[in-house]
Structures are given as structure tokens and as C-alpha cells.
């Protein structure tokens, strides 16, 4: 990293922070009127809880001195004191001043990953249980996994991939989307279905809010993806352009699927297709060409549009489709890197369709599988621990009368009578 562009990173970090409120609106709009505040509070509280924890200890676990590749030593930089000190002390520019910026940027990733999970638990999770879950999961799941992939840990070429092609995940297909998607699935299963699931429609209470959320997510995602390259150069531009067109294609893929299957393209479909496209391009932005991004995005839109119906068939109440969108498109994007990575790839290796053979594809699948297993098991342990201590779920009456009133003492909208 010889010419880090600080302006772009500060901008990117701001953009990524905006994504979590964006997610709050995306999820909040899809909720029912009586639970929109609780849904939004899960995202907002993630910012509060994970932000503080990241500074205190999460950053150390993610980027601190590695303990055998498993995680960073949590004591390596309590409160970011040493990175702060060395950054602002630096009399000459030696790169150490840049670390502080990256540490700050990293906080926003931890925050949104945790918040993503909340879509699976709409209407029924105790707020206290959510707070505890988000704190534990951020430190015990997100931070180690990010250490493996980005901190020179297990899934880097220093460890597991020492003799294999290194997997490519520029902005977090594994660390963010597969990780959060599998956690969402496990938590939805632990919580059980909502009263009326599969019978009542439970339709979005405000689709303009959903569209607003999708818009802010997309906007912020440019920082998420193109900021992850840490430089404001041509590769950032490549990622930016891919983040644009894969998402355009994801929207079209979803709308097309709806048109064929249901007869009508919906606005919820457009918003969801946007997110599916964004998820899929996340690991792939630096690996593929614009044409590759269009194909990848289109398929992501189609796959996720088909996948969101699964929960009714399989009976898990992934309320706002974290699994169908983030897990499915996250897996697809991660695997697609193994297919579509070009031969002018800044990372080095090309994928199957660009003459690179199957080795990158294999590595991508291995990395994805390991994250799924770890995240799934850890989420189960954390979830069970909460279930048998403070409890996970609100009483049934609360679900009927509305979780906003019970957990927050508020209703979202002034009613005339």
C-alpha cells in the first residue's frame, strides 16, 4: 500500500456507516406497522454496541497479533490505544498513520454484518436478547472470521491456503454475507416461526421505506466495495463500475423472474434484486470484468428471487429473507469468482472460464464452507446460551399486540383517533 488515499477511505467509511441505517429502513419497511421500531432498533443498537466493542476489543481480535491463525490476541490493542498513539505521533509518514483509518473503516463492517442478521428474527426476539447476541456474535464470530480472511489468519495463504490458490474476497462475501446469512438461518430456527407464519400475509407496511433503504444501501455499498481496495485508483474504479452493473443486472434478474413466475414485476422485487446483486458482487468486484459482473448479477437476482420462497416449503421463518438474499447470493458471488475471475485480475489468479482452471473455484468453495460451519456452530451455541438464560422470545400476546409497544413503549405512527 504505497499511496493510500485517505480522502476516499474517510468517504468510504462514512458511506458504509450509512448502510446500517439504510438496512434499518429496508427491513423496517418490510415489517408490519406494529414492529417497525423494534426492527429498526436492532440495526441502530448494533451500531451502538458493536461500534464501542470494536474499539475496545473487536479490532484486536480481528487485526491484532494472531494466535495460531485463529484470532488476534484480544489484549493486543485495548481501546485502540496503541494504534491511535502511533498514528497521531508519526512525525514522518511511514504508513502507520494509515492504520488508524483502516481500523475505523473496519468498525463499519463489523456493525453492518451483525445488523444483517436481525432480518431473520422480526417481530419476536426480546430486545435484551438481541443486545446480548449482537455483542457476543461480534466478538466471537465476526472478529475471528475477519481475522481468518483479512487479518492473515486461517483462510489466508499463511495458513490453509499456503499451498493452494488463495481465495479472493475483496469486500466480504464470506466474512459478511455468508457469515451473517448462516447465522440468520440458525437464529430463525432457534426462535421458531412467528404466530401466523405461512397463513397471514405479513406484508410490508411501507414499500417507500423499503425503496429508501435499498437506495441508501446501494449508495453506501460503493464505499463498502470500492473502499475495500484502500486506494482511489483504477482498481477502485473497476470495483465501482462492477458494483453498479452487477446491481443493475441483479434488479433486472429478479424482476424478470417475477414477471415469468408471478406475472408482475414488483417494487419489493426491484429493491430485493438490488440487494442480491450487491451481495453477489461484494467478493467479486476486483476479480471480474464489467461483462462478468452483468452475468454474475443477473444470476444472483434470479437465484435469490427463487430462494426466498424456500422458507415456506422448508418451514423456517427467515422473516425478511436474510437467507434467501444474503446467504444465497453471498454463496453464489463467492463461487462465481472461481468461474468469472479474469486474467487481468489484480489478485493474481483467473477463474475457470478465463483459463485459470478449477483451483480458484475449489479454494472459494472451501473458504465458504469453513465459514458456514464455524458461523453456524457458534451461532447455535450463543443462541442456546441465551435461550436457556434470559430467553430469546417475547410472549405470544406481545407478538399479537406488537413488539414496539412491549419492548420500546412506543408506536411508530401517530394515529388520528
Amino acid at each position: 500500500m504505497d499511496s493510500p488515499n485517505v480522502a476516499w477511505l474517510l468517504t468510504s467509511a462514512s458511506l458504509v456507516l450509512l448502510m446500517t441505517p439504510g438496512l434499518a429502513f429496508f427491513y423496517g419497511g418490510m415489517s408490519r406497522k406494529k414492529s417497525v421500531l423494534n426492527m429498526m432498533m436492532m440495526s441502530f443498537s448494533s451500531i451502538g454496541v458493536v461500534g464501542v466493542l470494536w474499539v475496545l476489543v473487536g479490532f484486536s481480535v480481528s487485526a491484532g497479533d494472531t494466535v495460531g491463525g485463529w484470532f488476534g490476541n484480544p489484549g493486543s490493542d485495548f481501546g485502540m490505544q496503541s494504534i491511535f498513539q502511533s498514528g497521531v505521533d508519526a512525525t514522518e509518514l511511514d504508513g502507520s498513520e494509515f492504520d488508524l483509518i483502516l481500523a475505523a473503516f473496519g468498525a463499519t463492517f463489523a456493525i453492518i454484518t451483525v445488523a444483517l442478521i436481525s432480518g431473520a428474527v422480526a417481530d419476536r426476539m426480546k430486545f435484551s436478547a438481541w443486545l446480548v447476541f449482537s455483542a457476543l456474535w461480534a466478538v466471537l464470530v465476526y472478529s475471528p472470521v475477519s481475522h481468518w480472511v483479512w487479518g492473515g489468519g486461517l483462510l489466508s495463504s499463511d495458513y490453509l491456503f499456503a499451498d493452494m490458490t488463495a481465495p479472493q474476497d475483496i469486500a466480504g462475501g464470506t466474512v459478511v454475507h455468508i457469515n451473517a446469512g448462516i447465522a440468520a438461518l440458525v437464529l430463525a430456527l432457534l426462535l421458531g416461526t412467528r404466530k401466523g407464519f405461512g397463513k397471514e400475509p405479513m406484508r410490508p407496511h411501507n414499500l417507500t421505506l423499503v425503496m429508501l433503504g435499498a437506495a441508501l444501501l446501494w449508495f453506501g455499498w460503493f464505499g463498502f466495495n470500492a473502499g475495500s481496495w484502500w486506494e482511489a485508483d483504477v482498481f477502485a474504479a473497476q470495483i465501482w463500475l462492477n458494483t453498479l452493473v452487477a446491481t443493475c443486472a441483479g434488479m433486472l434478474g429478479w424482476l424478470l423472474t417475477e414477471k415469468i413466475r408471478d406475472g408482475k414485476p414488483t417494487s419489493l422485487g426491484a429493491a430485493s434484486g438490488v440487494v442480491a446483486g450487491l451481495v453477489a458482487i461484494t467478493p467479486a468486484g476486483l476479480s471480474v470484468s464489467p461483462l462478468g459482473a452483468i452475468v454474475l448479477g443477473t444470476i444472483a437476482g434470479i437465484l435469490s428471487a427463487l430462494a426466498v420462497g424456500l422458507k415456506y416449503k422448508l418451514g423456517y421463518d427467515d422473516s425478511l429473507d436474510v437467507v434467501g438474499v444474503h446467504l444465497v447470493s453471498g454463496l453464489w458471488g463467492t463461487i462465481a469468482v472461481g468461474l468469472f475471475a479474469t486474467d487481468v485480475n489484480a489478485f493474481g489468479d483467473a477463474g475457470l472460464f478465463y483459463g485459470g482452471g478449477a483451483s480458484l473455484l475449489v479454494s472459494q468453495i472451501i473458504a465458504a464452507a469453513i465459514v458456514m460451519v464455524y458461523s453456524g456452530v457458534m451461532t447455535l451455541i450463543i443462541g442456546l446460551a441465551i435461550k436457556y438464560t434470559i430467553g430469546l422470545r417475547v410472549p405470544e400476546e406481545v407478538e399479537v399486540s406488537g413488539i414496539d409497544l412491549a419492548e420500546h413503549g412506543e408506536t411508530a405512527y401517530e394515529e388520528a383517533v
Binding site: P201, R203, E258, R261, K264, T266, L268, G309
Partner: protein, 112 residues
Amino acid sequence: MKLVTAIIQPHRVDEVRAALEAAGVKGVTVSEAAGYGRQKGHTEVYRGAEYTVDLVPKTRLEVLVDDADAATVTEAIVSAAQTGKIGDGKVWVVPVDDVARVRTGEHGADAL
């Protein structure tokens, strides 16, 4: 006195109001309602799952009238609200013991 209540299609309100004015009725109370009946509702699609909204939006009108005017007012509403399509609604008449105007405390026909 009588209370004439009408459940009509929302987009006929202006026509009915004009007809009521023509019939000399000076006041009306309006509110939102929704109805089930012969008329079917509509289908919405969310995330691939179709579901039926079988309540159809309607508007309720209430008019207090002298006994003598009840039939005329009923007819006025029926003909102004009619489109001939299923779902046009109902009009019914209920006897009223007494009416008071809040502003003045007047009772009976004077209060209309």
C-alpha cells in the same frame, strides 16, 4: 326523523354529494369503510407469494332527514351512486328518535 346510511364506491362520492344538494340536503357525514360481498377483492404479490385482499374500499355516507324525505333521499343516492357494476353498495334507512344540534342545543327537525 330517519337516518339514511349508504355504503358506496369511493369514486362516486362527488356525484352523490351533488345529488344530495340538489335534493335539498344540507349536511352529510362521511367515513371510510370496506366491504365484503358479491364483489371480489384483489390479489397482491409479495416475494412470490400471492394473497387475496377481499375487503374492497367503500365510503359510508350518513344523512339525517325528515321522515318525509327518507324515500326521496334514498332514491337520490341510489341513482347517483349507480354504475351498474357489482359492488355498487347498499342504502338503508333507520328510524331516529331524536336529533340535537350541538352548537345550539336545538332538537328535532330544527336540528337538521
